[in-house]
């Protein structure tokens, strides 16, 4: 008798867990329609399809982090195009490097609401980030002197001096 009650309770708990999971998973699939990251070209070329949907987008943070009150703009380039990300400024604290000539920016994965013509931002195509995850830390690009370029500079300088001297001789 006791065993039957336990079995019954197990069934009820199991059914409860099942309901909880299915309910949550439906929420998850609703919010994260595109869990796999989508490229910028795909987003731009099919903007109407992705409009108003939550997408995952990844790329290198480039340029400046432009803080605007409680939020900030970052621009993320996936190698094809850069897309503006509107993000809570607190979420940008983990970004150490932004891409420029001297730095390789942090590679981040952003999940957020994609908007083809954002009502809040004057019709910009942008993503309003909900979460951001740093995938790879950026780094400083150490510039080494290019020896062949340096040598070419000296060779050309010699040629230039020669031409200059010849020109002066002619004038005299």
């Amino acid at each position: 008798m006791m065993r039957k009650v336990i079995n019954y309770k197990l069934w009820v708990i199991g059914f409860g867990i099942f309901l909880f999971l299915t309910h949550n998973s439906s929420l998850i699939t609703h919010n994260y329609c595109y869990a796999q990251s989508v490229s910028s070209t795909e987003l731009i070329n099919n903007a109407r399809l992705y409009d108003g949907k939550v997408v995952t987008y990844e790329g290198e943070v480039i340029g400046d982090i432009m803080v605007r009150g409680e939020y900030a703009w970052i621009n993320v380039n996936d190698g094809q195009n850069a897309i503006g990300i509107w993000i809570d400024r607190n979420l940008t604290k983990d970004i150490f490097y932004t891409g420029s000539h001297k730095f390789k920016g942090d590679w981040v994965e952003v999940a957020g609401l994609f908007q083809r013509a954002c009502l809040q931002h004057g019709g910009d195509l942008d993503i309003h980030a909900q979460t951001i995850r740093k995938i790879r830390q950026g780094r400083e690009i150490i510039e080494r002197l290019n020896m062949s370029k340096r040598n070419l500079v000296f060779v050309l300088l010699g040629a230039l001096c020669l031409v200059w001297i010849l020109k002066q001789l002619k004038l005299k």
């Binding site: 480039i62 195009n81 009502l119 500079v153 230039l160």
Partner: protein, 501 residues
């Protein structure tokens, strides 16, 4: 009978070309100074190589072709057309050495696009380009916008009467001051004053938008040069979309319009004649054409509901339109959005705006407002002649600094240049279609290249065929010089081959 050019002609052309190349080479000192300030070693080496090559070529030409004779019309025109080609080839050297351009042709494409103030780009990974190279990209727009020859006229040529011939050859047929060298210097004065004001305005806005001070003012200077010279390059790959800022967009609109205004009008505004702006045929025509083309764009965008609110439609639609009409090419949308989200009617509106352009003696390309105004006045005169009795005397006047009567000579000249531009737009569109691009896309890109605008619907990219790249380079060159110098150069080559001694 066509006469073969004499050795003397070639010597005079070579001598002045050498001087211009020398002047151009020396302008590379500016990015070198910036590069040293930012501690960018290899980019500085790129420019040292560039400047040395330019100086060697310049000095050799001056030495081999030394002459004390002045230029005639034909020689002046040829010097101008060749100096733009030389500037492209030599200006591309440091760009190519940076490794951000896939081929030397691509670097030449961007150099011509810069000098001709077009704004179409083939640069790769722009977001990692050095300050040194980025400054050069924008500086070539500043130099090209004022006119390559004007740089030399202002600083290297003194009192030569041939200067005026080169000045005209560079598509500037209006003298602001009695002396052409004083005119060149005035153009530089206006540009430098606006450069300081514009850089400060854009820099402060960029700082308020959250950019670091150094970046803010660097971007301010670069964007100013591209806006005032109606160029269209920007320091980042997203162009103006990078800034996500309405005040930044408004300031760039003001600068673009200032760049599209005739320098003669600037002069009159400077000396206090502010009424001129309301009476001038060019400003009136500009206002009307902006209004008409914007209505077309707005109607087109409404048809496909591209933007859900009127304010968004205005912000996006008007910005791209004014950017196209002034010949700038700044964009706050992605290239592909033109094709994917704008309908053909909206694109036709932008194409018309691009094809019309700004004022004569400004930094814009295309047909230009004065010519459109004159053609319209002539049309009005002809219609009046038909309607009114035969004995009636019909005269038409227009106001351009002073009251001018419409004459057949002016109308003929305006119509010829308009026709030449229409042929150039069509030619580029046909070549684009030969490579399999749809008609509207090809026409859009062709008009953008010929009118030195720089808006792109996506055709311009590194993978486009080399022939198309060469076509656009030719269109940018011919469009910027308004044909005469280019035709003279072609004629000169024909004479060299087929002419008789």
């Amino acid at each position: 009978m066509i006469l073969k050019p004499r050795l003397e002609d070639i010597k005079i052309i070579g001598y002045y070309l050498g001087k211009i190349i020398l002047g151009l080479g020396l302008t590379m000192l500016i990015p070198i100074i910036i590069g040293l300030a930012f501690g960018e070693i290899n980019p500085v080496l790129d420019f040292l190589i560039g400047i040395e090559i330019a100086l060697i070529f310049g000095l050799i030409l001056i030495k081999l072709c030394f002459t004390e004779k002045d230029l005639n019309w034909m020689q002046g025109m040829i010097v101008v057309s060749l100096s733009w080609l030389a500037a492209t080839v030599l200006g591309a050297v440091p760009l190519y050495l940076s490794g951000h351009w896939k081929s030397y042709l691509d670097a030449c494409f961007d150099a011509m696009s810069g000098f001709a103030t077009t704004g179409l780009v083939l640069v790769q990974d722009l977001d990692h380009l050095s300050y040194t190279h980025n400054l050069w990209r924008h500086l070539v727009m500043f130099i090209g916008g004022q006119g390559i020859v004007i740089v030399t006229l202002s600083f290297f040529v003194r009192g030569a009467s041939g200067a005026f011939r080169m000045y005209v050859g560079e598509a500037r047929d209006e003298k602001i001051l009695p002396n052409v060298i004083s005119t060149s210097r005035f153009i530089w004065l206006v540009s430098i004053v606006y450069l300081i004001l514009g850089t400060l305005a854009l820099g402060f806005v960029a700082m308020l938008n959250g950019m670091k001070p150094i970046n803010a003012f660097f971007h301010g200077a670069c964007v100013f040069m591209a806006a005032f010279d109606t160029g269209g390059f920007a320091p980042q790959s997203q162009n103006i979309l990078y800034y996500h800022s309405l005040p930044f967009e408004i300031i760039t609109i003001i600068i673009m319009i200032l760049g599209a205004i005739n320098f003669k009008l600037h002069y009159h505004l400077w000396v206090g004649n502010r009424r001129e702006i309301f009476k001038n045929i060019e400003t009136k025509t500009f206002f009307i054409t902006v209004l008409i083309t914007f209505c077309i764009v707005a109607f087109g965008l409404t048809q496909v509901n591209s933007y859900p609110k009127a304010i968004l439609l205005f912000r996006k639609g008007f910005y791209q339109l004014i950017s196209g009409h002034t010949g700038t090419g700044f964009m706050t949308i992605y290239s592909r959005q033109f094709i994917n989200e704008w309908n053909q009617l909206a694109l036709v509106g932008v194409i018309c705006a691009m094809a019309l352009g700004g004022a004569v003696c400004s930094t814009t390309g295309a047909i230009k407002m004065l010519r459109i105004g004159i053609i319209f006045k002539a049309l009005k005169e002809d219609i009046k002649r038909i309607i009114l009795p035969e004995r009636a005397i019909v005269i038409q006047k227009f106001h351009h600094i002073k009251e001018i009567f419409v004459e057949d000579k002016q109308v003929r000249s305006a119509l010829l240049i308009t026709l030449a531009y229409l042929v150039l737009y069509g030619l580029g569109a046909i070549i684009g279609m030969l490579f399999g691009y749809p008609f509207i896309n090809s026409l859009f890109e062709s008009a953008s290249a010929s009118a030195n605008v720089g808006l792109s619907c996506g055709i311009t990219n590194v993978n486009m065929p080399a022939t198309l790249k060469l076509t656009y380079i030719f269109q940018m060159w011919a469009g910027r010089l308004e044909f005469m110098s280019v035709f003279t150069l072609i004629g000169f080559f024909i004479a060299a081959i087929k002419g008789k001694r």
